[in-house]
Each structure stands twice: as C-alpha cells, then as structure tokens.
C-alpha cells in the first residue's frame, strides 16, 4: 500500500489516484475514533479506499461529521463519496438471520464492502442492491 501524501496535509494538485484495499483484520481491533482517522488519512492521501466489512451506523455519521468539519479547512477537500454493499441487502428474513449469525461468529460483517473516496476524484458512486459503480472525474 503506497502513501502519496506530501509534507502538508491537503489534496494539492491531482496527478492520478490509487485504490487501497483495507482488510477487516486491519481495523477490527481499532476503536471508532481510530477507524475514522485511518479512513480519513487514506482518503486525504488521494486514495480510493475499499474496506472489507462496514462501519457501524454511529461511525458512519461520525465520519460524515468529521468530513464536514474538514471542508474549508483542508485545501481542495470537498468531502467524500461513500457506498456500502452488503450481502444482506435484498435478502429474505431467514437468509438475513443466517448471515447475522455468521457475522456474529466472524466478529463483523465480512460480507460487506465499503467504498470511500475523496469527492475531488470520485464524481459519484452509483449503487443498486447488487453492484457499485464508481464514476471517476
């Protein structure tokens, strides 16, 4: 995994982007604050992050709050694009229950994928129940 960030924290002029994959094992033991910090560090480094698993709803709102607080304070940062695709989506009650049990045993929703990218690079993440389409600027 590469790090492209310069000395100054900010997006600066864009010359491309990279995609980083973060396995669940990398963030499962982190607290909410550290998880969000890790995600934002990657996004601020102009990377699109593909995260195995998904955040808790409270972590997602915290991520949005922190993102909003950064807009206007970090040069060229305009926010994030975020989408989650989960195996649970569009399934029946029993399938969801089975999946819930498997997730409980695994210690997190491993059947989910979260895509997060800086809004300066990612124009839109189109999502329908079964696929995520990432539109890059």
């Amino acid at each position: 995994m590469t790090k492209k960030r310069g000395k100054k924290k900010g997006l600066g002029k864009l010359n491309g982007f990279s995609i980083q994959f973060l396995p669940y094992s990398e963030f499962k033991d982190l607290g909410s604050m550290k998880r969000i910090k890790k995600i934002l560090d990657i996004v601020l480094g102009n990377h699109i992050l593909i995260l195995q698993g998904k955040l808790k709803p409270s972590e997602e709102t915290r991520l949005i709050e922190d993102t909003m607080a950064m807009i206007g304070h970090i040069p060229n940062f305009k926010g994030i694009e975020l989408a989650v695709i989960s195996e649970n989506d569009g399934r029946g009650f029993f399938a969801k229950m089975k999946m819930g049990l498997a997730n409980a045993l695994a210690g997190g929703n491993l059947g989910a994928l979260t895509v997060i990218g800086p809004a300066t690079i990612v124009k839109e993440i189109k999502r329908n129940p079964k696929k995520i389409e990432l539109l890059v600027k």
């Binding site: 409270s58 709050e65 909003m68 807009i71 694009e81 569009g90 329908n128 129940p129």
Partner: protein, 213 residues
C-alpha cells in the same frame, strides 16, 4: 357531594397528565433538495397558517435547524400536538463551486458551503432528540444513496420510529416502487409536497407511527 369530589379528583389527575405531556418531536430528515422544508411548510401552513422556512432550487437552502412549536394536526377527528423540526439536508460532500451554477457570487457560494457543512453536523447532532422521524426522499433520485441508509441505520439503532416519504411524485421520473424496494421494512408514502398530493395518507401514517412511541 361524594360524586363531586370524585369528579374533581379525576379532573385534577387528567389535567396533570396532559399538562406534563410534551409535544411529539417530529423531525424531517433526508438528503438536500428532497423537499423536507416544502413538506414541513405544507403541514405547518395547513394547521397553523404559517410556514417553517424558505425553499429554493439551490441545494442547502436550510442550513440551520428550524422549529415550529405546538402544531396541532387533526385527522379524522383525532388531534395530536407536534413540535416540527426541519433539518438541513445531510450530505457527504459540499462544493461551493456547485452553487456558482446558480449565478451566485463566489463569496456567497463559499459562505453558503461553510454554513451547509455546519448544518449537516447540526442535523446529525439532533438525531438523538427526535421522537419520530420522516425521511423525505426525492422519488426521482436513486434511493440507494449511502446517506439515506446511514440516517435510517442511526434511527433504528436509537429505536426512533421512521416513516419514509417519496416526494415529487408529480414528476414523470418519480419511481416510488424503487424506494419501497430499497427500504422494504418501512412504510413508504408517495406524496407531492408542492401540490399537496396524498397528504391524507401521510397524516394517517403519522398517527399510526405515534403508536410506536
């Protein structure tokens, strides 16, 4: 004499119950430009004669939490008093350059963007204070927007009853079925806040939702 004392006793008890009963805090949440203020205005105008806030084609018109206290909604002989809370639209990105398209000056656009980011934070902070929430979605847009899912997820975690409103059904592109398919666990009501379409069904759903409180 005994009957009179009894009557007064019950009167006092009932009075104290209703005196302490607070208005139901009804929040309007959703992404920007979905029609939250238009719907809140329509309800407030119908029952108080006053509006709650201004509406605009430019996104993030509501940048502060707006209230309207003591809104007594009556439907089919039933009455309930609500505190209406209109919230700024929740977004994951805000770019001042988007406002320039509406012929806004750069300085004003930057200011609007700054206020909009603070509005989003304020909206999220207020989630804890709601008794029940109406999620207003634009029926012409893709409902699988993560912001919608995040708001609903947070309300479910807080055990706050939710009603989903698919607004702008007057537009040809509107697709209520897509919204129903995206959130099958919740009641979805298709309305047009602009024209007041299907508000009777909306009020019925609101009264039904109060039973979950």
């Amino acid at each position: 004499m005994a009957i009179k004392i009894f009557k007064n006793f019950f009167k006092r008890i009932f009075f104290s119950i209703f005196k302490n009963k607070k208005d139901i805090k009804l929040g309007f949440y959703g992404p920007p430009n979905a029609g939250k203020t238009s719907l809140a205005n329509r309800i407030c105008k119908d029952f108080t004669g006053e509006e709650i806030g201004s509406v605009s084609k430019i996104p993030h018109e509501t940048r502060n939490i707006e209230f309207k206290e003591k809104v007594e909604i009556s439907y089919k002989g039933k009455k309930m008093v609500f505190k209406m809370i209109d919230t700024p639209g929740i977004a994951t990105k805000i770019d001042y350059e988007d406002f320039l398209k509406y012929k806004m000056k750069k300085k004003d656009a930057k200011n609007r963007a700054k206020e909009a980011t603070q509005g989003v934070i304020e909206s999220i902070k207020w989630l804890d204070d709601m008794d029940m929430v109406v999620i207003v979605l634009d029926a012409t847009e893709n409902p699988y927007n993560q912001v919608n899912i995040t708001i609903i997820g947070n309300l479910v975690a807080r055990k706050i009853p939710v009603l989903i409103v698919a607004n702008k059904v007057d537009l040809r592109k509107a697709d209520i079925k897509k919204i129903e398919a995206a959130f099958p666990e919740y009641d979805t009501i298709g309305i047009s806040a602009k024209y007041g379409t299907n508000l009777e069904e909306f009020y019925e759903s609101i009264f039904k939702l109060t039973k979950k409180l």
